[in-house]
């Protein structure tokens, strides 16, 4: 009797403590995470906003000024060239990557579901494992000379930047789109076929319209990645601080300017603070992308 009872009591106690250690542990982790996130946002915001409040640069000059010359006399802190550069490269990269990603996703889920997915999915996911320096170097060694030989000029510029970015965001776009397509209820597809629709008609009349919000989530997440990418773009875009007049002219993005100049400037200088303000712009843009994704998800549920 005794021998049978004894193991039961410690076991119960053990579960009790397991429950509590688990709870305490996860709570500590969550608190730690929240503290880290808030301190990052606070740090970037306090640094970025001091450009306007301490150094007396007006927000309109920063966001709308076309001249960036922080070492000049007088100094100019107009970030418009970088903001436009970031937006143009991101949008163009999304324009190139979305149709490619959609076709790859359709191929994996609708056209050759079994073998297609087995081969294409790992191949595309492999792309996301390549470090961005390597993308940048490939861009510098292959894409820039290619553009130079086709269009003349230097070859560096937004065109090279968005081509590199398009390849980099392809895995994100494709895998999210493929998930969305395979999550579609079987019934919709089958009823479309039952009505006599061909596979192509089913794809563009039924599957794409119903999954559109989820497909767009893939595009937006891809854009968020493209917007924040620094190293690869910095190597091929040229980084001249001007609003470009053509796609083959040297331009810069917010990230490329930050990575180029952050280490060379001293903390607390106006130049350094202005770079933090650009980081703040990037942070705000990421918030916008996250909000967009949330809105799309909400539409998706209905």
């Amino acid at each position: 009797m005794n021998n049978k009872l004894k193991p039961r009591r410690p076991l119960k106690e053990k579960h009790y403590w397991e429950e509590w250690t688990g709870r305490i542990y996860t709570s500590i982790c969550v608190v730690f995470l929240i503290v880290v996130m808030f301190s990052i946002v606070y740090f970037v915001a306090s640094k970025g906003l001091s450009t306007f409040f301490q150094n007396g640069i007006s927000i309109s000059e920063f966001l709308g000024g076309k001249t960036w010359n922080p070492t000049g006399e007088p100094a100019f802190y107009g970030a418009l060239p970088f903001i436009t550069g970031s937006f143009i490269t991101t949008l163009l990269a999304a324009l190139i990557a979305s149709p490619l990603g959609l076709c790859a996703a359709l191929f994996m889920t609708e056209i050759v579901p079994g073998k297609g997915k087995k081969i294409l999915q790992p191949a595309i996911e492999l792309l996301s494992g390549i470090p961005s320096v390597v993308y940048g170097f490939i861009g510098l060694s292959v894409i820039v000379p290619l553009l130079r030989s086709i269009f003349g000029g230097t070859g560096v510029g937004i065109a090279a930047g968005c081509l590199v970015l398009a390849v980099m965001i392809l895995p994100t776009v494709t895998s999210i789109m493929a998930d969305a397509l395979s999550a579609l209820p079987k019934g919709l597809r089958e009823s479309s076929y039952a009505l006599g629709a061909t596979r192509w008609q089913t794809i563009y009349r039924v599957i794409i319209p119903t999954t559109l919000p989820a497909l767009l989530t893939g595009v937006v997440l891809g854009m968020a990645r493209a917007f924040g990418e620094a190293l690869a773009v910095q190597m091929v875009i040229g980084n001249a601080p001007h609003v470009p007049t053509s796609l083959l002219e040297s331009a810069s993005t917010l990230t490329s300017v930050i990575t180029l100049s952050m280490g060379n400037t001293t903390m607390g200088s106006v130049h350094n603070n202005a770079l933090w303000s650009m980081a703040l712009v990037l942070l705000v843009m990421t918030f916008v992308f996250v909000i967009l994704v949330r809105l799309l998800e909400r539409r998706n549920r209905v």
Binding site: T259, G263, T265
Partner: protein
């Protein structure tokens, strides 16, 4: 057992992260604390954290390895990090780093004069730069005025400076770069604005690649990066060679600085002396493409005045 595995792993990473943060702080405070005392013991010990200039990084790293291998200094740890001259100066002046590596005088970077006064300059090597162009330009020699015209955008075709009929493409450094500051100060004599359509790269490797491959390109590189893939341009008829820099006839060069906050403590001083010793200056410094301090027949101050 396996249910607990993720928890154990997470705890482990958590502890490791905290431990890493902790040890870094320790190194910082220790360095700062020992700065003041500066007592010389029989066996030197301590942590030296050198942060900053990526141009100086290879030398300090290599010298640090050799320094720690010396029996006398085996209790001294030398850690070297990049991050750029601005970061180096900020961190040494805030006491986070023992040594701040910089390509430029602190006077040129730090806005707060009181902070500049606290720093002690140790010049450990000289770096010279040469203007370089693509091989197709047909130009081998440029005067100061021609360079100014090119980098200010007044001259946009190589035929105007006696070369081939080819558009000029400027491969520049970002305006905050120490290399650019040196080139503008000593080769051009004035700060230049960025030209629309110019290219900016921070890494010397990328500058070299772009100048070598882009038709009509012009840029500038440290002597250690020069080779046959580029046309090295003479400046005012003077070739960029170590001898010419040492003799003071070639002006486009700058010191590599290692700043300490106040006078260095015993271990740091030993390390700085070690870098300036013949063993490092005659071997590592020249191997890595810098010019040793001992060979310099001219001196220069922060304002750019040259003394024979």
């Amino acid at each position: 057992m396996f249910k607990k595995l993720p928890f154990i792993l997470m705890t482990l990473t958590f502890v490791l992260v905290l431990a890493a943060c902790g040890s870094k702080n320790d190194a910082g405070t220790e360095g700062a604390a020992s700065n003041g005392s500066g007592e010389a013991t029989a066996e030197l010990s301590g942590n030296i954290l050198a942060v900053g200039s990526t141009a100086l990084l290879p030398l300090v790293e290599q010298a640090g390895q050799k320094f720690m291998a010396v029996d006398e200094y085996k209790n001294v740890t030398v850690q070297v990090q990049g991050g750029g001259s601005g970061t180096g100066l900020t961190q040494v002046s805030d006491g986070q780093a023992t040594i701040g590596n910089s390509d430029v005088f602190a006077e040129e970077k730090l806005e707060d004069e009181a902070k500049v006064k606290e720093l002690v300059d140790h010049q450990v090597a000289v770096v010279a730069m040469a203007p370089v162009s693509n091989k197709d330009t047909g130009v081998e020699d440029l005067t100061k005025q021609q360079l100014v015209d090119i980098f200010s955008g007044k001259v946009t075709n190589w035929k105007d400076v006696g070369g081939a009929d080819k558009a000029i493409v400027i491969v520049n450094r970002p305006s905050s770069s120490g290399t650019r500051a040196t080139f503008e100060k000593y080769a051009l004599g004035a700060k230049m604005d960025d030209i629309q359509g110019s290219i900016q790269e921070d890494s010397s490797g990328n500058v070299k690649k772009l100048v070598a491959e882009t038709p009509g390109a012009i840029g500038y590189l440290a002597l250690s990066y020069l080779d046959d893939s580029l046309q090295v341009l003479k400046y005012e008829g003077v070739e960029a060679t170590v001898e010419n820099v040492e003799a003071g006839t070639y002006p486009v060069w700058a010191y590599e600085h290692m700043y300490t906050k106040g006078e260095p403590d015993a271990a740091t001083k030993a390390f700085l002396d070690y870098i300036l010793s013949d063993e490092i200056q005659q071997n590592d410094v020249t191997e890595l493409g810098y010019i040793p301090m001992s060979g310099m027949k001219v001196k220069r101050d922060a304002a750019g005045n040259v003394v024979q």
